[in-house]
Amino acid sequence: MSDAILLISIMSIWIAVFESIVIMWGAIRFMFKQNKIPMVIPENMDHFPKVTVIVPAHNEEIVIMSTVEHILKLNYPQEKVQIIIVADNCSDNTASRLRALKEQPAYRDRDFTIMERTGSGGKSGALNDAMVISKGEWLCVYDADAAPEKNALLFLTQKAMEQPEKYGAVFGRNKARNRSQNFLSGCINLELVTIQRVHHTGMWELFGLGTIPGTNFIVRKDLMEEIGGWDPQAITEDTAISFEILTRGKLIALAPQAEAYQQEPELLSVYMKQRERWSKGNYSVVMDNIHHLFDKTSWRIKLHVMYYAASYFWFMIAIIVSDIIFLANIVYQIIELFNPAVISPFQFVGDVYVYLVIGWALMYYIYVLQINMALATDIGQSNTRNFILSCVSYFTYSQLFLIISVKAFFSISYDRITGRESKWYKTKRFG
C-alpha cells in the first residue's frame, strides 16, 4: 500500500515538474520575442475605441483618491473614456471624497460618474449595475487599490485592436506597490511576478490561454451582455468569467506592457482570508467546469480545466502525501535512535525513496528558477535580497498554500453539503 502511495506521489511530482518546464519554456520564448519589440505609443488615437472604466469601491476611503487620480491621468483620449466609480454600500467617506475630487477644476469636464449603490451582489453586483449605464465598446475594470501606469489602458486597447473579433478580453500585469513593506509582502510580490511573468506568459505563448486577473483588464461590453454580466454568486468572479469567455470561442489576450500597481496584504490574517476566498473560488470554478473535460468543447477549455484541477486538487494532494511520508520518516528515524524496535510504516523497496527526494529537488530548483527568471524581466527586481527570498519562500510562504488549500477545501465542502452561502471577504487596505 505504502509503495503504491509513493509511486503515485513520485509520478504526480514528475507531472508537476513537466508542467513547470513546459510553461517556463513558453515564458522564455515569449520574453525573448518581447524584448525585441519596441514600445510604440501612437500619436493619433482617433481610431481607438470608447472605453468605460469601472472601479467598484466598498469602504475604500484610504486608497480611492489615488486610484481615481491615476485613472483620470491615463494617456487615452479624454472623450473616449467614461469613468464610473461605484461607491458600493459605503459607510465611510468614499463617496464624499470622490465628490470633492470631481469638483476640482482639472476634472470638472470629464465623463466621471459616482454611483452610490446600496444593492447586493458585492463586486459582481457593482460591476453589473455600472455596466447598465456604461457607454463604452469595451469595459475596463480596476480594483479600488489600483494604480495603473500612464499607458496601461492604451496598451490594453492596442492589443484588443490587433484581433478585435477574436479577443473577448485583454489583461495586463499587476505589480505589488508595497513589496518592500515586510517579509509577507515581499513573498507575495515574488508570487505575483512569477505568476504574471512565467505562468501567464507561458500559457499565452504556447496555448493562447489567459485568465482575467480581477483588475487591469478590458472586456467587450457586448460579450459581457451575452454572458449575462458578472455572477453575484461567484466567489472569484474573474476566474468564473474567464471560463465563460473561453466557452464562447473568444480568447483572453495578454498585453504585457499594460501594468498597474496594487496593494498586497501586509498582515498574515488578511492574507489568509483573501487567499482562502480565492482558493474556494477556484475550487468552485473547477467543480462547475469539470464537465468540459467530457463534452465537445475545444481543447483549450479542457486544458484550462486540467490546469486548474491539477493545481488545486491533484498536485496539492500529491504534495501533502509526500510531505507526510517525508516527515513521518524523519520522526521515525529519530525515534529509532532511542528505540530500534520501532520501524517506520513507510518502508520502501530498493532506492525508490531516493527518486522521490530527487523529484522534490527538481521541483524546488525549478521553483527558484522560475521566480528568478520572472525577476530578471522586471527592472529593479533581480537583486540579492529577492534571490535569497526566493530560496527561503519555498519552505515558509509556499507551505501556507497547503494550509489554505486544505482549509478552503473543507470550507467549500461544508458550504455545498449544508447549503451555507459563501461569504465574500473584502481585502483590508493599508494606509
Binding site: D3, M24, W25, N35, I358, L362, I366, L369, M373, A376
Partner: protein, 47 residues
Amino acid sequence: MEYTSWFIPLCIVISSLFGIAIIILTIMTLVFRANVNRKYDRGKNHV
C-alpha cells in the same frame, strides 16, 4: 517480479531528461538576464 526492475530505470531516464531540460532553462535565463542588464545598464555607476 518486483516493480523496481522497471520503475527505477524509468526514474533514472525521467530524472535525467528533467535535469537536462532544467540546465537548458537555467542557461537561457542567465542569457536573458545578461541581455536585459546590458540593455538597461542596470545598477551600474556612471563615472
